[in-house]
Symmetry: C2
Subunit: 343 residues, 2 copies
């Protein structure tokens, strides 16, 4: 706040232009002068004012991150990935968590319209037309997270939910289970839909019939798992394996199984999706799909920075799907777990 480029210039006996050039290593400055200016700047503990710089350069070295209200682990890891990359590249991260009361569109506009950020990483449960238009017209680059819109209009990074679901269901099939149930995630939710697709495809590719009685709607929470399980097990055609659309639901399944004295995996196998920390605590350890969230954050950020720096065409759409990994616990019937131990 105190000491600025003028002061440096005064002390060094040169003009502010030279100081600016010397400190930014652009333009030509005699080596001797450059050294001197840099020394003085260091001695006076000069920090360029990023606001002034931002005004002049029309660049703030700040990117905005808008995230929905979400599971702790996801939130933390996505931020970690982004922050890591930001730190590496001398950028700053501005967060806005769009908790229930927050108006996404408004927040978005605010972020975009103003010169506060150079770009945006945006994750929204579902994109309506308003938001879509906004994104499309945005003057600053935007990377979408986990929003598998296949319209070739946006830039997005996603977890490959389809592949993950396919793999875990295939794993169940490999065990010989014939009646594999699914407790689905919320309708309209992209993750949920893709996981469901993966489930269907796996059955199909292995010539297993799709049984409607084994397809239970649900939400991404414990309760849905609990009641889904009860519903499944109280009907005549019981499953021999259950794929819950996420780990939280699997938790509910475990709970329901415990109270109804049904053994996992002896009586029924269970697999989840997400590989949340909690799943390690279950007994038997849950077989699930690991999702590389930190990596998702990192990659999105990396790509966004490329867009900002015009290393890729910011107008070109791009879509990347991150591969998930099967984490084998005991809940599928496997003897040898590939899962990390509790500690």
């Amino acid at each position: 706040m105190d000491i600025n480029i003028n002061e440096i210039a005064r002390v060094a006996g040169v003009s502010i232009a030279t100081v600016s050039r010397a400190l930014n290593n652009n333009g030509s400055v005699k080596e001797e002068t450059r050294q001197k200016i840099q020394r003085i700047a260091r001695e006076l503990n000069y920090k360029p004012n990023p606001i002034a710089r931002g005004l002049s350069r029309k660049k703030t070295d700040t990117i905005g991150v808008i995230l929905p209200e979400m599971v702790d682990e996801f939130f933390t890891e996505i931020i970690r990935g982004i922050d890591e990359e930001a730190y590496r590249t001398n950028n700053y991260v501005m967060v806005a968590s769009s908790y229930s009361q927050r108006n996404i569109v408004e927040t978005l506009l605010e972020f975009m319209g103003s010169g506060r950020v150079d770009g945006l990483i945006l994750m929204i449960p579902q994109i309506n037309d308003d938001v879509s238009t906004l994104i499309y017209k945005s003057k600053r680059p935007i990377v979408l997270l986990n929003n598998n819109i296949k319209n070739n209009k946006f830039v997005s990074f996603n977890i490959n939910n389809f592949q993950g679901a396919y793999n875990v269901v295939e794993h169940l099939i490999g065990h010989g289970y014939q009646n594999i149930a699914i407790i689905q995630g919320p309708e309209g939710n992209i993750d949920a839909d893709e996981r469901y697709r993966g489930y269907l495809q796996a059955l199909k590719n292995h010539n297993l019939p799709v049984q409607n009685s084994l397809i239970i709607p649900g939400e991404f929470n414990i309760k849905s798992g609990y009641y889904g399980f009860i519903r499944l097990m109280s009907q005549p055609e019981k499953p021999d394996a259950i794929f819950t659309a996420n780990d939280m639901m699997a938790l509910g399944v475990y709970e329901a199984a415990r109270t109804s004295n049904i053994k996992i995996p002896q009586d029924v196998a269970v697999v989840g999706f997400d590989d949340i920390f909690l799943s390690r605590l279950l007994s038997p350890r849950l077989t699930t799909i690991h999702v590389p969230i930190v990596e998702l954050g990192r990659k999105s950020m990396r790509y966004l920075l490329k867009m900002i720096n015009n290393q890729v065409d910011p107008k070109k759409s791009y879509c990347e799907e991150l591969t998930t990994g099967l984490v084998i616990g005991g809940s599928c019937g496997c003897k040898n777990s590939t899962a990390p131990t509790l500690f």
Copy 2:
């Protein structure tokens, strides 16, 4: 980026000064003119450039948050509290998570020196002299989180660890347990120390002897709980109750108890600290101490904003301790749980 105050002025046929005054509702502007300018601004979808404004006002409406690598839940909730308050007051939040590789002092300097933020919320595991000096000399207000330094130099908001620990241990004493063990948190960690103090004080106030064999050092992780438990139960003087310095450790205790066929709470009672989500999944439900993290974030932010706006003297030290709450599960021996159910 496109349409600025000059444009508005041009269209309205007034000077930019009048526009500025009209839009900021300060200075005197004829009502009619004000209306007109505001209408035009709205029609042209004008957004003031916060960077330019920042340069002029020397205020960015942005606050920085520096957090250590931490438990997901804590991280998420603290940010939520801060973000909520920021949103309410039209401020922005810049995060820097000081993951292992990040140099705190450097980050701190960067944030402070530059005019990037108006103030800082800072949480660091331990404050050394370097950092302490930095904070003390800072030109911008800083609120410390959970850093119970009693030197009356800083502004800090803390969880009342002492009171929480005291309460939960007293609760155990109320059950009639006489040999209450503690598995401590890491040495030098302020939270851990305070929780230990609370434990000691509770014993003392109820005339129970402090038994060195029942005081086990540890870290805030599952492993420490696990081995701490084994160590406690393999010595001649076994505890009838164990207070683990946090819930993660309690998890380890449960795990160890399970494998050694020791029943909680019949054979030994267990209580934790933090009320993490995980603790709800334990069977019996863990008795623990709830810590108001979101509230901690909210209050810190609120106070920081007051400092920034000079509604409190930013130079005056201030310390607030947030009260924790006892969450009763079954692990202490209670029949009736006060804990929220799983779903």
